[in-house]
Each structure stands twice: as structure tokens, then as C-alpha cells.
Symmetry: D2
Subunit: 301 residues, 4 copies
């Protein structure tokens, strides 16, 4: 039996494009990292190095810059859809294209309550990052477009209202039960749209608020339970979302042992550990969610 | 229709364990980062925070340390298999377990040709990292165990013998063709074993050598072609390997423009760029490869 | 002539301590990375390994945790002063101690205009980091305590109002002059207090605001000029500050060349480069600033 | 009293230049990160933005590329000296220039004992990095040139032959004494040449070997003692070196507590911790070392 080419894809990763809207003296800034991925008939390139079907990744990069100028990047989901459709429609060998975007937020300098802030000076917000990953292409069920948006690096912490007890214990279990610990995570959440949002940015902001409010408002018996509550709240509030997935590292905060120094430590002083960390992954989905198609297809390894 | 729990898993990530073999004055060192992931019936934890089925990630960490003492970690694939089987066999709720390991290599201090080096002093090699990801559990076709091993951060470069031309050009294409460029990548390769290797470490070393030799020996018309040649060579030389997958960032080296200074630059002085970078992913597989089962199941997002 | 011990110091780096103030149901959080450094008579440890004078770095870590409990960490400058004085006063061999702190800010979840936010749920702000480095000890002029506070990772950008022209050109100069470019930096600023601030946190907030406002309000002919303006404004507004030092990487944003695609690009679409970057360092100081003493003594290499 | 400009400097950081020597079919590769820093009379740029004295950092970058072509980069110390002298001699406002270089080593693919390896295919060694920082300019004592070379990221470990006991204990000391622990560090060493080396690369290789051999061969009662022994051995073996400075993080390896599982752990299984870490800095110097001049002047903050 032979040795053959299997699944493959290629593209340009981490294209750092900054677009300034400057039609008026009051500028807006869009700061993105864009990654393009193309799939299709590139077998000749793999087999013999024949590149006749291969659009250079350099051209993909150029396309991102040109589209930023021509169409703007107001809504990253629309920008990604435009790019993905362009590659599918204009590169003959391409059967599907995926465009991922990380968007970094900036605030205007000098924004006080009731003030408008500076026209063209900005300070990077540096908090969580807004993401999207759009796939356009054909499956066995026909053509489609799938939008997964999300948030990453959302670092949240509760200083009380979290327990951890009643767990399964085996002979390697030494952990003490607790009814009051710090719960902290650097959340990654990705939600798949079942239908387009009327306003992607507003939808993102709404989901972010629901995530934060539910994290804060849920008395936690397990990080799993908190994630389930967060996902359920998002799906209830946002009918356009079919499914949400979480990856939540449990950022352990261990109470410092101050007893040798004659001090008690009732949940006040903690050592924030780096590694290892618990990692909880979970999905909350509608029973009648449409087929995910190519929505979640990312890297091969 | 309801909102339900979908796919989920949890475990302990990046457990940094160092095991010293010191039965004789000539020590050996094993330096690992281990990640455990469990899947199974954890619905109660998600729905209500009931942890009765949940083995704490702290216990998983303890298990790794205890197994390192009891069984040693001579072959990371065997160590991962032992751990994964243990979780499946002893934690009632677990239906499958995945154990990933990164292994960092150390050399003995003072190794000259023909010398044995120091007994207990080591210098970290710091080159590429040996990896494995083992999954044990049940699919619809019955129970199984799958071993994927690999290499990452293998940074290789050819200073000639690489062209890039004859590619598909669209209206956004400005890249010039070249018949002599630098080809460089930081390779990630993961191969799935169709059957156990007689000696995992020897097999890893053999595959690494084949990858390097083929990279060096292939006149490259495309990075895709080079990867295909590398994968094919591995499968030809190693019948125990069913499939190999690559992720290869094209680490661009752009020739510096020295013309303004009256200097030519025939492939001598380059600027090594960070971002963006091309990213090529490819699979080389046997036509009669056994079903991959749970081999490639990693994160959910 | 002999070979002797020269300058030396030691301590514990990056102690990650989180202190929760929980005297009332409305918690406060203090999230720090503390580094201690001791100098003094440790020659015996270097010469023969005799540790009789050496307070273990583990004890230094314990001290940080115990002090967090006993005294709180409300003002990082005071916390650092307390720790540094403690080491100088209680460890006989120590002649001076330096305590550096990075403080990570958290916001309450659910803070809308006019609202108070959640009592014990927080989201990490993730923007710039507040820093301090306090040194207590003796110089040839007698004992003293020096406080340097600062800010790092303050990423700011102006989308217009920045030129770069009239520079010195040699035979390697190819850069075109421009009267409208993006000016962006990830600012590090460190200011030395000539006298203690009445309220360190308020002073930090005030200086941060002055830095931002001056960055925004200065038409820039050079990053150097902008830094000088920022430093001068800080010293004018804050008589307690004797000196301020800046390290400002010039985060280059290059206008994308869209001409090949029939598009102009009047300051709209930029490529944000990683490396190399310009790096401007500058000091603004009062002519009558008191002697800096040990204020700026950090690492040896 | 006025507010004035204090110490200042500027330059281009992290210029990533790769130089291929290809005069014969057997290529050589030089892979560098170069940072230039200029000091002198740039007050006008700070005060008013007048750049007439300022050589753009872009031109500095161009110079590095052009010099790499014209003169090669065989010895990084000589390359840095050439660059620094060029800036001092050709830019009127410059009074001193500092050029720092990190050099990344590559091995030829296919080097077996007795073999020569591939002509133009390389694999990055990835171990420790060779460094230099050269300063050329005038002090109050006249003009000079100073060469500091070094090594960084040299990760070494001893699995026995290291104790830690007899230390000063205060009321915050809980650490147990030990007569057998793992000693590990990621060494940074920088040595100042009192006179030029006949062969910089050979000298670097010789010093690296002395550092490793001494680390391995010294029974350690303290990391301080080990550093002192390493530094002394370097100065004894290399008369051209006037002084050597170390920064050595104590990479803690804590023995895993396996007692709850009925297992002993006599120095076999360790948890490799990330933070916090001890940090030892030390200098070993000749009593008659020449004045250091500008050798150690680096950043301002």
C-alpha cells in the first residue's frame, strides 16, 4: 500500500495590521492580528513542488492590508468573512478558507466620566482580547460560512464564594476539602453563532458582560459548575449563539502557611502559583444547535 | 429545546517533574512536563457542582510524582501509557485519559569524543523537545490505546537549495520569484504509531535523524514538498509509524537591500523577520493506516 | 596580585503574593510580585560556602507573606520600606536592602458609571503595571532610604501629530522624512522621590495622568522631545519628585504599500513591526535634586 | 532651580541579521541580534525636537547590514568594535557608542563523530547564547574601548554534591538544612577583557569549558561558593580577563513528598518550581584590574 498526502492547509499567520479611521479629526483605531488559512487542491505542491495552485502567503498578507484600506475593519467578523469569501471565490484551488483575528482594544487618553477623551491619542487597554475565527467553504452538505467569536485572557478572580469538597478520593489524594477558597482563571471562551448577529461588536460586549456577571454571581461548588452557569446564561441571553466552549485554567492560589510565625491566615494571604494548574474545558450547547460544519476546524496537530 | 452540557474534559497541566536515577554513582536525569486529561461522566460537577465523580487535579499531580518513583520514567511513552491506564482503570467515572509529556534533554558536562562525561553534572541541551501524547480509553469500536510521539522546536535552515517560483499570482501578488532563498522553519512533527515501537527512544532518535537528513538532502521547490519528502522518508524507514503530521512556520529571511550603499547582496545578508510568517501544515499517511481512534483528540477549542 | 570577590548581592525574586482585605464583606485585592535583594558581608559564603551570615532566600519569602498579613500592603512603597528596613535592622550582615514590587491592578466586576461594582469578584485590568523599588541602607554619607516608583507597559499611540525630519543623514541613511506618522511606545518610567509622598498611590495616579495628557497634548517632532515634555510636566506638577527616567521603545508602524493595488494610503493602514525597534532612554532631573544615593542600584550585569 | 535633561542615549535594538559565508559550497552561518546605543550631544532633540544631530536608528540598522556584507561577522567582538568605532568617528555628536550582540549557534546537519556534516543545512543548537557588549568612546581619562563578553541561558544542574546548611536563621526561617540537594541555575556570566583576546571565539569556548568543569567539579556548600570558584578558575586560566560577573537564579527543585503514599524519596523525584527563585549575583575581579571605564554602562533604568 502507498504513502499518501493527508489533510493539509497553509496560510499567513499573525499579520499585524493597524487601521486608522481618519475621515474626521476624531480618529478611531483598529489593531488586529490576522491569520489566514487556505485548504483545497495543493497536492502538486506537496508531491513535486509545483506551485501553480498556490497563492503565496505574501499575497494573502497583501490582501489583508488592501482590504483594510478598501473596506475598513469596523467589525472583525465582517472583515474576516470578506477575506475568507475572497479567497474561496478568487483562488481556483481553494475549497475553504479560515480567517482568524485577534483584536486589541485601545481607550482614548483622557476619558473621565462625561468626557469624550482625546481625538487621536490612545492607551492600550491590555485586558482581554476579542477574537473571531471565520470559515467559508464547502462541506459534503454544501457551501456555508461559520462564525466563531470569542474572548481570551479574561482574568477573573473571586476572593470568596467558592468551595471545593465532596470530591472522589483515591490513594493519591491528599488535598484538604475547603469551603472558602480563591477561584481564579484566565478564561478563553469561544461561541459559535447559529445565525449572524445584528451587531457583532454589541453581541460581543453583551456576552462579555454576561460572562462576568455570572462568574461573579454564582456561588461556586466547582469551576465546572461556574462554567456551565456562564455558558447557560450566555445562551439564554443570546439566541443567535448556538454553542459556547470554554478553556479555563484553574489559577491556583495557595494560602500561605503563617502558623510557624504565630499568625493565623483566614483567607487573606495567598501564594499565586504558576505551574502546574488545573485545566477545565467544557461546552454548553443548544440541543437543537445547527450542525457545526467547519466552524471548529483549526490546526491539524 | 434545552441547553445542555457538551464535550468536556479536565486535568492537570504542566506538571514539572524531574526524576534522578541514582542507583549508582553515575546518575541519569529525566526532566518532564506532564499534562493529564480525563474524560468521562462528570456531568454532575457541571450541573450542580457535585464532585463525587471528580478526581482532583491535585491527586493527578500526586500520581505523576508517585509513579515516577515507583516505575521510573525511562521511556516517556511507557510512562504515559501507565498513567493513562491507571486513570481509566481506577477512576470509575473516567472513560478515557490522555497524558501528554514534553521531555527536555540534558547532556553530561565534559563529554568529549571518546569520553564518558561527568557522573552527576548536566547541561541542558536546549534544542528540540521530545514529545508524546498517549490516549487510553473506549471508542464505539471498543477499547484501545493510541500513541502519538513527536518533536517540537526543531529549528532548521538551509542557506541554499531552495526556490520559490511558478506560483499562482493574483492582483495582490507582488512577491518576486526566486531560485535561491533561505529556507528555515521551527518544525513541529507528530507521528502516530500503528503498532508499539520496540524501543520508543531509539525510534524517536531514528525519526529525528531521518527528518534532518531529508530536510538537508531535498532540493526544495516548496516547503510543502520538503515536508512531504520528510514524511515519506519517515514512513518508509519506520514501518511502526502509521502517519505523521507537520506544522512548519516559514521563518522568513529577507535579503537586506544594500544597493543604496553600492553593495550587492547575492544571498549573503538577511533580515530574520518575526511576524507575519507562512504556516504550512501537512499530513503524510499510509493508505492502509489503522483507524486513528482517539489518537489526535486534544483540546476542545 | 590576587583574585578577589567584588560587588555581590542576593535575594528572592518574583514572590507572587496576593493579599485580600476582608474585614468587611466588601473585599479589596492586592496582587504583587515582590523581589528582595540584600547586600552586606557575605564574603564567607563566597569564599568557603560558610553561610553563617546568610539569611536564606526562603526566609525572605516567608517574611514577605508574614508582613502582608501583619501590616497589609495598602501602599506598596510603605510595604517595601517596611521590608527593607526589617532586613537591614534584623540581619546583622546586611548593610543595605532593596525591595522591588510590581503591582497588578484589578477592577471590580460590574462597575458601571455611578455603580459600586461587585464585593468580591474582580477582573484583572491588564494595562500598565505600577512599580516601586525601595533601597534602605548606608552610604559613605550615612544611612538613608530611597524610593523610586514607576510605571511599565504603558502602551500609548498617537495616530497623528508626530513628525520625523531634519535628522542627521549619513551614507547609510535611506529613511524618508515624514510630517505625519504614528508615534507609539510601551513606556517604562521610573521617578525618584526627593521626599516622601503624602499618598503614594495618589501621587502615582497623578503622575500617570500627567504622562498621558502630555503625551497626547504634545505635537511631537521627536520621541525625545515628547519624553522631555512628559518628564518636565511631571516635575512641575509633583514637587516631591526629584528625577524621572524613561525607557521608550519606538514601536514602529510602517505604512503599508498599497500602490501596486491602485490604492493610496494617507496614514490609514500600517504594519506594526516587532523588531528591530528604536529605543530612547532619557532622564529629566531638577538642577537641585538631592544626591541619588542608592536609589538606582539594581542588578550587577 | 530649573528642570534639565539628564543622562540619555538612544539606538536600535534587536536587529536580527543573518550572514551566510558562501564563498565556497561549504557555507557558514552567523545568526545575530545586534543592539546599537549612541550617547553624545542630543540635547536639541530633547529640548525642541531638533534632530540635526540625530542619526536615525533606521540608519544604524542599515549600517549593521552593510557592515555584515563588507566586513563579515566572523568574530562578534570585532564586528561590534568596528560598528562602535564607526559611529563615534562618523557621527559628529556621538561621544560614545555601545554595540551589544547576542549570537545564536547552529550545528551542521549530519555531524557524526569523524564526519564533516552538511554543507548548507543547519540545525539551531538552542543551548546557551554567546554575547558581547562593546563600548567605544571618551571618559574623563581619555578615549578607550571596552569589551565585555559573556554567555547566557547556560542551564546547568548537579543531581548531588550540593548542600545547604549552617545558614543564619531568624524567626521567619522554616527551611530545613540539607546535605544533598539538586543545584541548578540558568547562568548569565559577563567577563570584561583587560586586554584583547588573540582569538575571541577560542577564548569564549575556553571560558565556557572552565565554567562547566568548575561547576561540575566543585562540591557546593553554597551557590555563592560555586560562583566564586567558577570565576576564580576563569581568571586563573585566562589572563586576558580582568573581571567576571554572574547572575545566577537558583532554580529550585523541591523533593516531592511521597510519604503519604508509603514511598520514600531519597533525592529521586523533584518538583521543578518556577517562581519565586533565589537570585545570586557576584563579581570576581583581579586586585589589579584596570579601570572599568565605560565597560558596564548599559541601560539607564
Amino acid at each position: 500500500m502507498g504513502i499518501i498526502l493527508g489533510a493539509n492547509q497553509y496560510g499567513k499567520a499573525e499579520i499585524r495590521v493597524v487601521k486608522i479611521d481618519r475621515d474626521t479629526p476624531r480618529h478611531d483605531i483598529h489593531d488586529l492580528s490576522v491569520t489566514t488559512t487556505l485548504r483545497g487542491d495543493f497536492a502538486a505542491a506537496h508531491r513535486s513542488g509545483n506551485q501553480a495552485n498556490v497563492l503565496p502567503t505574501d499575497s494573502q498578507k497583501n490582501t489583508v492590508f488592501a482590504f483594510a484600506k478598501q473596506y475598513g475593519v469596523d467589525q472583525i467578523e465582517d472583515f474576516a468573512l470578506d477575506l475568507a469569501r475572497h479567497f474561496v471565490e478568487t483562488v481556483p484551488a481553494v475549497t475553504s478558507a479560515r480567517v482568524g483575528i485577534d483584536a486589541y482594544a485601545w481607550d482614548r487618553v483622557g476619558v473621565a466620566p462625561g468626557e469624550a477623551g482625546h481625538d487621536h491619542a490612545f492607551v492600550r487597554r491590555g485586558q482581554d482580547i476579542r477574537t473571531t475565527a471565520v470559515t467559508v467553504g464547502a462541506t459534503e452538505h454544501g457551501p456555508g460560512a461559520w462564525v466563531v467569536s470569542g474572548i481570551k485572557d479574561l482574568v477573573v478572580l473571586k476572593s470568596t464564594g467558592s468551595e471545593f469538597r465532596g470530591f472522589f478520593a483515591d490513594r493519591f489524594t491528599t488535598l484538604a476539602e475547603t469551603d472558602d477558597r480563591i477561584l481564579a482563571t484566565s478564561l478563553v471562551a469561544s461561541w459559535r453563532y447559529g445565525e449572524p448577529a445584528a451587531d457583532w461588536a454589541a453581541c460581543h460586549a453583551g456576552i462579555r458582560a454576561v460572562l462576568l456577571d455570572t462568574f461573579a454571581g454564582t456561588h461556586s461548588r466547582a469551576l465546572q459548575q461556574t462554567l456551565q452557569a456562564m455558558g447557560t446564561a450566555v445562551l439564554k441571553a443570546h439566541p443567535e449563539v448556538a454553542e459556547i466552549r470554554f478553556a479555563a485554567p484553574n489559577k491556583h492560589h495557595f494560602a500561605a502557611d503563617l502558623e510557624p510565625f504565630g499568625l493565623d491566615n483566614p483567607g487573606e494571604v495567598f501564594y499565586a502559583a504558576d505551574r502546574p494548574y488545573g485545566l477545565i474545558e467544557a461546552t454548553v450547547i443548544r440541543e437543537d444547535a445547527p450542525d457545526a460544519g467547519l466552524a471548529w476546524s483549526a490546526g491539524l496537530t
